[in-house]
Point group: C2
Chain length 339, copies 2
DNA sequence: ATAAACTTCGAAAACGTTTGCGCTATAATT
DNA sequence: AATTATAGCGCAAACGTTTTCGAAGTTTAT
């Protein structure tokens, strides 16, 4: 039936609790004979150590937290999957939290993570996050943080990102080479590290080709889905409609598809679309979608690997370190050259 | 800096540990004055209670585990999202585990969940899972389990599912009404509750319309992605190619799309496709995909709600209960009637 | 005035581990 | 034979809480 503790084992075997404990951990202090007796009894009685008692003694929980701003998102879910894989190998447990793109939730959750609940944190920032006191406090209290994708430059720790500037530059260049001259950039948030890098890459490419850099072509889409949809429809209905859209995130590209469909604009004939995306169905869309795909799984795995590397040390203070992985530009129908 | 405990607070305020503890929990035994002093000091010194010490005392962890056979899967991720939402409201924490469709992993993870790590479990079974000893052991040890989608009929507890039989029947009927007479069913596993229900619905519909029930039209696709792809290609290249495919899970429909594309079969003209799916891009596919969509988010939320309802009792033994939610058939291009 | 009741707090046990140290018996060393 | 080393085990403290109980001191009732 229920819970069997060291005490129960000790009583059953008529030895002390410490003997049982040591036997189970294969201590040299215990004779082979009693060790085997204990092991056998433990298996038989279904003993499983209480993890929290151990945590209390050791100040180690063998648990890490994973904070993402969105759960139903192909990129983040692949990253989580990557982190989970290496955690499972290392016998670590993962607490998953959805911050829902809300700074307030992020702060509250981070607050719950001090004092030993987790040994470390892997996270991607909220689009609202502009101050980092809560994160610094956590680090100060001894819980290291590794960032991925949406990072805080201001915090000295390990960060796993992709080559956002270059990818965005390449993506924009790709559009230009396909004949586009008026490219709108759909942005998610001004405070986001990746968003800014991507904007810069976009602007730099425009600059290289001497294209009009009127900043009005950077469209902020930070509302909910329907809000964004109407923003995009408005854009596509405007007098001077752009001939291409560069969506900084996947969901904005999908909204663009929906908008185009709704008002009868043909992709790629009248509008070309490219975006950062980890959509598996990108090749199957109508038309198939040109994407810049980040190595999401590997990013999560890498973030976890770095974190664990530090956790294995006595006093885990993570040094500043930028790990930059490459995204891949995959041209498809949505940016096909038209005449 | 780091960790501040009750002892630290007590020392700073020159009162006893128990006074501090009681003050923080607003005990009637403590005067308003000292309570306020304690509260103030706690905030100032950044006190956060050590969760595991409390867990040890209370035999409650305020944590639940979520086990899914696949993480990069729209259905499961939406379910997780639903469960996470209600957990966050109830101030519970969620440990997420990926069983990778492997019985052995499921067993091992379940083994780690005894003895207090979690107060309860929400899970969907592996396609390999055929025996339930590990689950029964866990329940016996006092940790309740709530199943969703892929359930174990043999275990008496709460189960959240959808009307798989009816949905599958309706989906098959839909295909028949669109003119199909030779429908292949792509199955994932014989041991899976949902798979069997769906097969039965499919067969029942065939029966109703007096169609050929040769069981060879049930195709097992339990390999990896490339294996399944070649299985489907073989099917579509066979002498008597089916005129429709009913995929029991989303990924098999996507493989069907890929297979059709590869060997130049046009959907829906030459082949109609329907599947169970939570793909957000289903309307944007080429052609748009007819789906039977489960209320994944609500299922996860419902499972969590039921679990918490029981956890709030003293001795949480969950009664047998079948909660059945409705899926929605959304006809799209992939099953459009052709002449 | 004494007894009773109440208010406010502290001592200590308990949750289930791990581990340093001490104790006893036997084996090895002189 | 006397000493020392060693093997094998148990005691007890510690981790950070919560909570029962009792000890004061204070107020109210008789």
């Amino acid at each position: 039936m229920s819970k069997v503790s060291l005490r129960d084992l000790a009583k059953a075997l008529d030895v002390s609790i410490s003997t049982v404990s040591k036997a189970l951990r294969n201590s040299y202090e215990i004779s082979a004979e009693t060790r085997d007796r204990v092991m056998e009894a433990a298996r038989e009685m279904g003993y499983h150590p209480n993890p929290y008692a151990g945590s209390l003694r050791h100040h180690k929980s063998k648990t890490i937290a994973l904070l993402v701003p969105e759960l139903t998102n192909n990129f983040f879910i692949q990253a989580i999957s990557g982190a989970e894989s290496v955690a499972q190998e290392k016998d670590y447990h993962i607490l998953v939290y959805n911050t829902h793109e809300q700074y307030q939730k992020e702060e509250s959750i981070i607050g719950h993570l001090g004092n030993g609940r987790v040994d470390g944190v892997i996270m991607s920032l909220t689009s609202e996050t502009g101050r980092y006191d809560h994160l610094n406090d956590l680090i100060q209290s001894g819980v290291p943080i590794v960032f991925f994708d949406r990072i805080a430059h201001e915090i000295e720790t390990a960060k796993v990102t992709t080559d956002d500037f270059a990818s965005s530059f390449n993506g924009t260049e790709h559009l230009i080479r396909q004949g586009c001259r008026d490219i709108a950039f759909l942005s998610l948030s001004d405070s986001l590290s990746i968003d800014n890098k991507r904007k810069q890459g976009y602007l730099e490419a425009l600059n290289k080709y001497d294209l009009n850099m009127s900043s009005s072509r950077i469209i902020r889409c930070e509302g909910d889905e329907t809000k964004n949809l109407s923003t995009i429809i408005e854009l596509l209905n405007s007098e001077k409609r752009p001939d291409a859209i560069f969506a900084s995130v996947e969901k904005l590209a999908l909204s663009t598809y929906n908008a185009a469909r709704e008002i009868g604009i043909r992709i790629p004939d009248q509008l070309k679309v490219i975006c950062f995306s980890n959509l598996r169905t990108a090749p199957l869309l109508n038309p198939s979608l040109t994407t810049i795909t980040q190595p999401a799984f590997q990013m999560g795995a890498q973030a976890a690997t770095v974190l664990f590397k530090y956790l294995e040390k006595k006093r885990p203070v993570i040094q500043n370190e930028n790990i930059i992985m490459k995204s891949e530009l995959i041209p498809r129908e949505s940016t096909r050259r038209t005449t």
